[in-house]
């Protein structure tokens, strides 16, 4: 039986389109047919872009027919997380307050995808404003893990990871503020990268916590992630925090050369209460990298235990400020009232979900007079210590290897009753955001129920090349990234 189009890797699909072995329009139609066949059961998408997607794919076919360069992502169906603006296509951030919001412009990452020839097939579900670890905080839909529909996909970029795992799209964009690309990648068995803070523009990304937010690609293997990163990375005049450093060739970094690389194994990332299968799979992956010639160094990141508190004070403080813009005046939901202040309060009460309100309240509290020094300033100081921990170990190591999460995907509803239990899902991912580092999540095993286990590779600032190199070398000699959920 010939391989179905949706089973191809992103790179293989680009090659076939560019060689005219298949038309971009047919690739897009196949993706839309796949979505129609499987999405009802998993809910990756909030909005589909069927008509525009086929028109965009046909435009790529015309470019190819005319002998023009169709781009590195020629005709490739991509899912875009619904907190990333897409001109003319509804963008909700998973919130009631933006349920009918249609942006007038593309985010820079969206524009760069399109310029590279990618076809935006739809908008992927997410926790409201990216605030969550399971996608259960979306106000607009339930997303399920394709490996077991009773389980969460992880969050907040759950729809992006599910679209890739279920082969509804060849790749996706997510955003990662505290692990929101890496956790769903691990739970769904795909590859996801959180780039260095400043490597990718945030212009047009609906803000949650601006000092932590970063857009990242998801795909089915490391080389596909590298292709997507190449398309979106680089300076943007519309985002002054987007670094002007030159963007290297990420494909060139995939050379398999891990011999002699020093990989740190932080002891704080192997904790009591971890699912034993996660620990053994990650340790086996580390042994595997050692067999490939990497040098494994035990290291310590002593402030790791404070990372959850530090993150949830800083992120919520920034969120309380960022979300002040939702006032019912210029766009989004309005609850009509005769008095302006009452309109604000009623609009926000109706438009925001429980977790968003909780985070706005926590952040407002941490910033308020009398508590600022004890909470917000304290968290910013501990952030410095967490960052210095990494700086010290990167004097000795080229990258760090850790689990992505202490467990595999948990059940829907399992952690919704207690916010602190949910926050602890991020324990191995959030320090990376506080320090602004790049980190890759990739499959490295499965538990006895068959649920994927994720390996995390953390790098120095702007050293995406090393984390991709390590992940790719691991993949070249293992099969975990080839596992696919049925059907």
């Amino acid at each position: 039986m010939p391989e179905a189009l949706h089973d191809l890797s992103l790179r293989e699909a680009v090659t076939r389109v560019r060689q005219r072995a298949v038309s971009a329009a047919d690739v897009t139609r196949a993706a839309l047919a796949r979505i129609a066949a499987v999405d009802t059961g998993i809910g990756a998408f909030l909005t589909l872009n069927e008509v525009e997607a086929i028109a965009a794919a046909e435009a790529i076919d015309r470019r190819i027919a005319a002998g023009q360069d169709p781009g590195s992502l020629a005709g490739i169906p991509i899912a875009v997380k619904d907190n990333i603006c897409t001109a003319g296509l509804r963008t909700t951030a998973g919130s009631r307050i933006l349920e009918r919001f249609v942006p007038a412009f593309d985010a820079t990452v969206t524009a760069r995808l399109r310029a590279a020839g990618a076809v935006v097939v739809g908008k992927a579900n997410c926790d409201e404003f990216g605030m969550g670890s399971s996608t259960e905080n979306s106000a607009l839909g339930t997303t399920r893990n394709p490996w077991d529909p009773a389980r969460v996909p992880g969050g907040s970029s759950g729809g992006s990871a599910v679209a890739v795992a279920a082969r509804e799209a060849y790749g996706a964009l997510g955003t990662d503020t505290g692990g929101s690309v890496r956790l769903p990648s691990a739970f769904c068995g795909v590859v996801g990268l959180k780039p260095t803070y400043g490597r990718v523009s945030r212009y047009g990304v609906i803000a949650y916590a601006s000092s932590l937010d970063q857009v990242g690609p998801l795909a089915r293997d490391v080389a596909d992630v590298a292709v997507l990163l190449q398309a979106i990375a680089g300076h943007d005049a519309a985002d002054s925090t987007a670094s002007p450093r030159p963007v290297p060739s990420y494909a060139a970094a995939l050379d398999g050369k891990v011999k002699g690389l020093r990989l740190g194994l932080p002891r704080e990332y192997f904790v009591e209460g971890m699912q034993p299968e996660v620990e053994s799979a990650v340790r086996a992956a580390v042994d595997h990298l050692a067999n490939l010639g990497a040098i494994i160094e035990p290291v310590s990141l002593p402030h790791t235990e404070y990372a959850i508190a530090t993150y949830y004070l800083i992120a919520t403080a920034e969120a309380s400020s960022n979300l002040a813009r939702y006032d019912g005046v210029r766009y989004g939901l309005r609850e009509a009232r005769a008095v302006l202040g009452e309109m604000y309060e009623a609009t926000r009460a109706r438009g925001f979900g429980a977790e968003v309100k909780r985070r706005i309240m926590l952040g407002t509290y941490a910033l308020s007079a009398g508590y600022y020094d004890a909470y917000y300033l304290k968290a910013q100081q501990v952030r410095t210590l967490i960052r210095m921990d990494f700086q010290k170990v990167f004097d000795m190591c080229d990258a760090l290897v850790t689990p992505v999460s202490p467990t595999t995907a948990f059940r829907l509803g399992e952690k919704t009753a207690d916010p602190v239990t949910m926050y602890l899902s991020d324990i191995f991912t959030i320090s990376v955001n506080l320090a602004g580092l790049p980190a890759l999540a990739l499959p490295c095993g499965a538990d006895k129920a068959g649920l994927p286990i994720g390996l995390q590779v953390i790098g120095r600032p702007f050293d995406e090349e090393t984390v991709l190199r390590v992940g790719h070398a691991y993949e070249q000699s293992t099969e975990w990234h080839r596992r696919r959920p049925a059907p």
Binding site: V102, A237, A309, R330, R334, R337, Y344, V382
Partner: protein
């Protein structure tokens, strides 16, 4: 108790959130529980540590102060909950 119901009301007013009584009760319990879990932060010695607001690996990039986006009044007003010509409409704020 790290936080009281009165404080929750005061914070909600600052955040422009109207809370139902049941939400107030739930948020008081939640914030209390969260702050309790975060209390260990106060045990870290930060007397000689400067705060990090942003990881600035590079200096902020500057650009010329030139207008690059053309006015798009209609495109931007399309999403307005209420408009009047080229203006956003809001409830009267001056008696």
């Amino acid at each position: 108790m790290a936080i009281t119901r009165d404080e929750v009301r005061r914070i909600a007013a600052l955040a422009r959130l109207r809370l139902e009584p049941a939400e107030e009760e739930r948020l008081t319990a939640d914030l209390d529980h969260i702050l309790e879990a975060f209390a260990r932060l106060s045990t870290v010695d930060t007397s000689a540590v400067s705060p990090t607001a942003q990881v600035e690996e590079d200096r902020t990039a500057f650009r010329d102060d030139a207008v690059t986006n053309p006015p798009a009044t209609d495109a931007l007003l399309v999403g307005a909950p209420a408009r009047d010509g080229r203006f956003f409409r809001v409830p009267k704020i001056i008696e």
